[in-house]
Structures are given as C-alpha cells and as structure tokens.
C-alpha cells in the first residue's frame, strides 16, 4: 500500500511531464519556423481575443454575431503558421510525426490526391481544450492551433456560421494571390 501511495506523485509527475512535452512539441514546431521567411506566423493572444470580443459587442447586435461572440469569449488564443511557397505535403507529414500522441483525437481527416487536411482535438473533462488543424497541398501549408474550452456544439456553430463578418474579405483575399 505504501508503495502504491508513493507511486501516485510519480505518476502525476509523469502525466504532467507528458502534457508539457506535448505542448512543447507544438511550440517546437512553431519555433522551428520562426526564422523561416517562407512562413507567416500569427499569434492571437488572449488580450487580442478580448479586444475582438469587445469590438463585436460594440458593432453588431444580431443573433449570429452573438453566437460568434460567445465562441470568441471561449477562445484563449490562436496560433497560425502558414506558407504558400513550400511543399505542403512534406510539411504535413512532418507535423504529423511531431504531433503523434494519444493526447489528440482525430476529428476530421480529408485526403484526396493533392491535399491533406486533418482536424484534431484535445479533450479534457468533455470539453475541447485545443483544436488543431493541419493542412497541406502542393504549395500550401497551414498549421493552426486554437486554445480555449469549447463544446462540440461550439465547433459546429463555427462550421456552420457562414456569415461571419469579415468572412467575405478573407475569401476574396484568398482568391487573389
């Protein structure tokens, strides 16, 4: 019995260490390319999330904005690493091998001849703590990590809200390279 109780803190420590190691893996993956000019990096801090929420509250009143606002309030931060001048498929595999862990559950995996896309989630107590998106094709690569605590319903809303303000601009920007 004594041995067992002695084991508990060790196990806890191991568990904590593993969690730490995983966070580090993403961190490492991001930091690998901080100096790489081909990549653009975006980090949206909790403070910025707060400000964005404030902006939305001040500028629109309709239900959809409220939904978006409630999601925004649940997001702690977003990190994006992207490039449109690298072999995305190679980086996709690279990212996958770095992030292999049983901590993430696969949410969605779309593969076709020229592109790969994967959504993964990290769950804690039934809440999604992190949404990880990795996508790659012949010339694009993107890795996105969204931290916070959401329900799957929130993710659904996010997938279905077509009228996210600013969405059109984003698509336009994407179509015009």
């Amino acid at each position: 019995m004594k041995k067992l109780t002695a084991l508990v803190p060790v196990l806890l420590l191991l568990w904590a260490f593993q969690a730490k190691a995983q966070d580090d893996a993403i961190q490492k993956f991001f930091s690998n390319y901080t100096e790489d000019d081909r990549f653009s990096r975006v980090y949206i801090s909790p403070k910025m999330m707060q400000m964005a929420g404030g902006f939305l509250k001040n500028n629109s009143e309709d239900d959809e904005s409220k939904e978006v606002g409630s999601i925004i309030s649940k997001i702690q931060g977003i990190r994006i690493l992207s490039s449109d001048e690298v072999d995305g498929l190679k980086f996709y595999e690279d990212a996958m091998s770095t992030l292999t862990s049983n901590k993430y559950e696969e949410l969605m995996d779309v593969k076709d001849r020229s592109s790969k896309l994967k959504f993964m989630v990290r769950e804690e107590n039934g809440l999604v703590k992190e949404l990880l998106m990795v996508s790659g094709d012949q010339e694009d690569f993107a890795l996105l990590s969204m931290l916070g605590s959401f329900t799957y319903e929130d993710l659904n809303i996010l997938a279905e809200t077509t009228e996210i303000p600013g969405m059109e601009e984003y698509r336009k920007g994407k179509n015009q390279p």
């Binding site: 999330m49 977003i78 896309l117 997938a159 600013g166 984003y170």
Partner: protein, 150 residues
C-alpha cells in the same frame, strides 16, 4: 393744448411703446401736475418707487472674512484650458487607437475563424457527397427514371 390732452396723447404713444425717454419723463411730470389719471399715476409712481428701492439683503459679515477668495488669474485660466485640451485630445487619441486596435484584433480573429471554417466545411462537403450517395441507394429509382426517359 391743455395739459390733459397732451398727457393723453403721450400716454397713447406710451402704450404703443413709441415714447422716447424724454417723453416718458414728461409723462411723469404731467401726471404730478394734473388731476385724475389715478391708474396711470399708480403705475408711474410705482415704477419710480421700484427704481428707488434698495436691496434689503445683506451679506453675513463675520463669515466672509474666513473664506479666502482666490481669483483665477487669466494666466491660470490659459494654463487650465491648454491642459484640458491636451488631456482631452490625448484621451480621444487613445480612444480611437483603442478602437483601431480592437478592429484589427477582430479582423485577425475573424481571419483565423474563417480559416477554420472554410476547412471544416471542406470536410463537410466531402461528407455531403457521401450523403448524396445515400439517395443513389434506391437503385430502382435511377433505373426507373432512365426507363421513363426512354
């Protein structure tokens, strides 16, 4: 012209509000001289009395000396005004900067969300194709329709 008719004339003019100050003075003098015109006498006499009245209120004397009256000199006023303008413009500037930063943050966040959304919907679209296949399952319908078209 008798004094009465002159007075009447002047009073008519007075009620039309066309008398000059001199003429009003004349009305007063005439009113003192003639008999009758009690209402007018009351009015003009009353006006005179009013103008002679002195304000009855007096300042409490003891306390006035205790509080110092500080005069704001124009120099001070200038300073105060410039500081006020400075402070308020800084405030306005900060406010607009804050709004600008908020907007930028919002756009950034929306871009990230849009990225997630387009990719999520990519998955949904391919799911939809499979969903659509479900309807093809009823083979009879397809063949039936082809037959009907023939």
């Amino acid at each position: 012209m008798s004094m009465e008719s002159r007075l009447k004339e002047l009073l008519d003019k007075y009620w039309e509000a066309e008398t000059s100050l001199d003429e009003e003075k004349e009305i007063r003098e005439l009113l003192l001289a003639v008999e009758g015109f009690e209402d007018e006498k009351l009015l003009f006499g009353g006006l005179d009395e009013l103008s002679e009245m002195e304000p009855q209120l007096k300042r409490p004397e003891g306390k006035v000396k205790e509080t110092k009256v500080r005069r704001i000199t124009p120099v001070w006023l200038n300073w105060a005004a410039s500081i006020l303008i400075l402070v308020s413009s800084v405030w306005v500037w900060q406010y607009t900067e804050q709004r600008k930063a908020e907007k930028e943050a919002y756009e950034e966040v929306m871009m990230a969300l849009a990225m997630i959304q387009t990719n999520l919907s990519k998955g949904k679209e391919s799911m939809k194709e499979i969903e659509d296949l479900k309807y093809l399952n009823t083979t009879n319908q397809i063949f039936g329709q082809e037959l009907m078209n023939k």
